[in-house]
């Protein structure tokens, strides 16, 4: 997972209309999204992974996600893993039911008491994971989230040809940006430091193959028009080489 500032967590829910467990997973996801952690979570629509939700796919690729599934088929977990990135947590309602020693829930359309209880348990588990991921703790006494711990992670040194100073997107999303010179003009590349870090951690040295894969990731966040594509490609290649070399030097 790239080191993006983790200010949001994605919740992916199974749709499972044919099973009561599916309804439990949807309602548990909604409880986290609407009641327990509304400011810290966003929903990711499962069919949109395939039906054109580029934003959903990109989000799940760069931010942590929690999958809540109804059954052992684990469609939400597996689809997120297949189309974006591995979720940091998977809750499976059928397994949770067994763990809790409960009977199977009943009522796809209107849950029985067991179903409602499972909604509570699953949503609390997911909310606690959200807190852990965001470096926050829930104050049970105060009933509020405790202040966020300061992020002490070190930022990598700016690569040559980039502009130091502006490290995150000015929209406030916390997404880091890197400005590169493309055709003598400054272009802001969203999430580029995180993309570089991700490739570096995967041990992908600068090469034509790496560059092609890099550009695919870059385009998820920053649309590149065809007239500047070649220049943008050259700028990204140069910046990644500098990033890679800096890391190698640090390792000695």
């Amino acid at each position: 997972m790239p080191e993006l500032k983790q200010n949001k967590v994605g919740i992916v829910s199974c749709s499972g209309e044919e099973l009561a467990e599916g309804t439990v997973s949807r309602l548990a996801a909604l409880k986290v999204l609407e009641e327990l952690r509304p400011g810290e979570t966003v929903t990711i629509c499962l069919p949109l992974f395939l039906a054109g939700g580029e934003g959903d796919r990109a989000f799940a690729r760069f931010y942590p996600t929690i999958a809540i599934d109804g059954c052992e088929k684990r469609c939400a977990f597996r689809a997120t893993e297949m189309f974006s990135n591995t979720p940091v947590m998977g809750i499976v309602i059928s397994g949770l039911t067994r763990e809790q020693g409960l009977e199977r829930p009943q009522g796809c359309r209107k849950l029985d008491e067991t179903g409602k209880k499972l909604v509570e348990i699953a949503s609390i588990q997911a909310a606690e994971k959200v807190d852990e991921l965001l470096g926050r703790r829930w104050s049970r006494r105060e009933g509020v989230l405790e202040p966020r711990e300061e992020d002490s992670a070190q930022s990598p040194k700016s690569a040559p040809g980039t502009e130091p100073g502006q490290t995150t997107c000015s929209c406030g999303s916390g997404i880091p940006v890197l400005k590169l010179k493309v055709n003598a003009r400054e272009v802001e590349f969203l999430a580029l430091p995180s993309i570089f870090q991700n490739f570096l951690e995967n041990g992908q040295p600068p090469s034509p193959q790496t560059l092609s894969a890099l550009m695919e990731s870059v385009k998820l966040y920053t649309p590149i028009s065809s007239d500047i594509e070649e220049a943008a490609r050259a700028a990204v290649a140069k910046a990644y080489k500098a990033y890679w070399d800096t890391w190698q030097e640090r390792r000695g």
Binding site: V42, I44, G55, C169, G172
Partner: protein, 147 residues
């Protein structure tokens, strides 16, 4: 294909094409062959939600700058948008009646709202934002919202 500015918040990406001007309310204005085509910006439509109803002032009507041009209703909001220029409404996109969701699907293309024959374009354009200014404006707006 014009250059497009984009910024991303969570899973939402907001696009600002650089070939047109913008009002702070969220309308865009694109001049072509003496006609000004207008529509809703991507930022405005995404923040407003799925468009259910669009009421555009009728074709042929003269509107003053700042006068009501179009009202939209989504599940979340009902919003009035005002004309960024004075002129006569030359045509209204028929899709606004048939499939107003075109605004969500393609806000800068098939989801255009109406076309005006301008009367004060040279003056009106000065009161509109450049793509760069509008891009900065919506980023600031989004940042304030997040706070």
């Amino acid at each position: 294909m014009p250059e497009v500015f984009v910024f991303t918040i969570d899973k939402f990406s907001f696009r600002v094409p650089t070939d047109r001007l913008y009002s702070a309310e969220g309308l865009w204005a694109l001049a072509k062959d003496g006609i000004i085509r207008t529509g809703l910006s991507d930022y405005f439509q995404q923040r407003s939600g799925d468009v259910a109803f669009v009421d555009v002032q009728p074709g042929g009507k003269r509107v003053r700058r700042g006068e009501l041009l179009v009202s939209i209703e989504t599940i979340k909001i009902t919003s009035d948008l005002h004309s960024p220029l004075a002129g006569r409404i030359a045509s209204v996109n028929p899709a606004m009646q048939r499939s107003p969701e075109d605004i969500n699907r393609d806000p800068y293309g098939e989801g255009w709202v109406c076309e005006l024959e301008p009367e004060d374009w040279e003056e009106a354009r000065l009161s509109l934002m450049t793509p760069q200014a509008y891009f900065a404006y919506i980023q600031q707006d989004a940042a304030q919202e997040l706070e």
